[in-house]
């Protein structure tokens, strides 16, 4: 049974409990940061920050500003680009949907970093490997919810069977639209054959920095694969040419 996290952005108050709970459970260090005009901190996801709350300021009709919050982390795609381009098999799917990462096998090639359509995976300079949210397989397989979901004080994050959460998310979208939130929509149901992190958004995805139509990046890897096949043939021919015996000169 596929599991998922449902992020209801309309309930998020931006307390960042999820962000720090993740750090605590996985033993990730704090990042030294500086004020850069927003309460959002640190500026981006990194090897030490697997989940962070985005603070997005949008303007209302009357010109007043409004805050939108998005608890951002790996989306655990079904068609996961990172997994498709990983040459070592360090990235793999758990049977219930999480895209897990085996640090022992990762060789730090960083293909996944450029392949991820959400820019989630980051290279860890210290270990020479990549890091990202793994959806707490230790907790989930022991019957617990991920650390971020467990700590959420407002119920903006919930965890459970994906099908049930989809139903709840759709109900919530209808509810929000009825309340006048015309822009309310569900993100993640069909994107990349289904994400395992579902979002109830109050505005268009790009407002939150989510791609409208995320692309499966392995498509752009295929030419590279072809080129390497061509290159290996060329190298073989060159080797054969280099070792050819030129009329007795090889005997000198």
């Amino acid at each position: 049974m596929a599991k998922a996290i449902l992020v209801d952005t309309s309930k998020c108050i931006g307390c960042r409990g999820c962000q720090v709970a993740c750090k605590q459970w996985h033993g990730l260090e704090a990042e030294p940061t500086a004020f850069r005009g927003s309460y959002e901190n640190p500026p981006d996801l990194s090897a030490r920050t697997w989940r962070k709350v985005k603070f997005i300021e949008t303007a209302k009709q009357d010109g007043a500003t409004r805050w939108r919050f998005l608890s951002d982390a790996c989306k655990h795609c079904t068609d996961a680009s990172c997994l498709a381009v990983c040459p070592t098999g360090a990235l793999f799917h758990r049977p219930w949907g999480a895209v897990d990462l085996d640090q022992e096998i990762c060789n730090g090639c960083r293909y996944c970093v450029s392949a991820c359509p959400f820019g989630v995976i980051t290279f860890n300079e210290r270990t020479g490997r990549v890091d990202k949210c793994i959806l707490c397989p230790d907790r989930v397989e022991a019957g617990l919810a991920p650390a971020c979901v467990t700590t959420c004080p407002t119920g903006a994050l919930s965890f459970g069977d994906r099908d049930q959460l989809l139903g709840r998310a759709k109900e919530r979208v209808v509810q929000l639209r009825a309340k006048g939130e015309k822009g309310a929509e569900l993100y993640g149901e069909r994107e990349l054959s289904g994400l395992h992190v579902l979002y109830v958004l109050q505005e268009r995805p790009q407002v939150y920095g989510l791609p409208e139509k995320p692309r499966f990046a392995a498509a752009s890897v295929f030419p590279g694969f072809l080129m390497s096949a061509v290159a290996s043939v060329v190298m073989g021919v060159v080797a054969l040419v280099a070792f050819r015996e030129r009329g007795g000169r090889g005997e000198e």
Partner: protein, 185 residues
């Protein structure tokens, strides 16, 4: 070193045969189970000391070390939830800047001195007594007030109802009227 095309082909062929025989498995690996870090840990209930909400926390202790701090699901206030401040609680425990000894800085001094706890307790008791005696006011406009105006008390978010009661009782016994709470700031 000279190598003929024949030798090169021989070497390449042998390499391919060995790789096939030994087997290079390119199939995706099955993920090993990840051990829960709180497995077998003792659960110690406590309170978050930060704000006035007073959330309950559960510290998981394994081999004398706190391995995780989570919201107490059975606590009536937070029901398992915690904000970012409480979640960062764990770093206070072993922080190198955490005070583990009594430090005393005498009036006018620039440096802190290490002192025994008993000495500090005696000092506090003596000074409370001295301040109370110096600033105690029995009457105001002919009305008996009996208050110690030179002392104020600051409570804490991390103390329980019962401890709050004892603190208030002790302070009222001294005649202190300014009873405050740290979380109200």
């Amino acid at each position: 070193m000279s190598m003929s095309r024949r030798d090169f082909l021989k070497g390449a062929g042998t390499g391919a045969v060995v790789a096939t025989a030994v087997g290079v498995d390119t199939a995706p690996v099955e993920g090993a189970a990840r051990e829960l870090k709180t497995k077998g840990a003792r659960e110690v209930p406590s309170l978050c000391y930060y704000c006035a909400v007073g959330c309950g926390i559960v510290a998981s202790v394994a081999d004398g070390k706190v391995v995780a701090i989570q919201g107490d699901p059975e606590h009536p206030i937070n029901r398992g939830a915690l904000c970012s401040k409480a979640q960062a609680y764990i770093q206070v425990l072993d922080h190198p800047k955490r005070l583990t000894k009594v430090l005393y800085r005498p009036p006018g001094a620039t440096e802190w001195q290490e002192k025994p706890l008993d000495w500090a307790m005696d000092q506090i008791a003596q000074r409370i007594k001295a301040t109370r005696d110096a600033t105690f006011r029995e009457t105001e406009d002919g009305v008996t007030v009996n208050r110690a105006e030179g002392i104020a008390a600051l409570g804490s978010a991390v103390i329980t109802n019962e401890e709050c009661y004892l603190l208030a009782k002790a302070m009222r016994g001294l005649g202190v009227v300014w009873l405050e709470h740290q979380a109200r700031v």
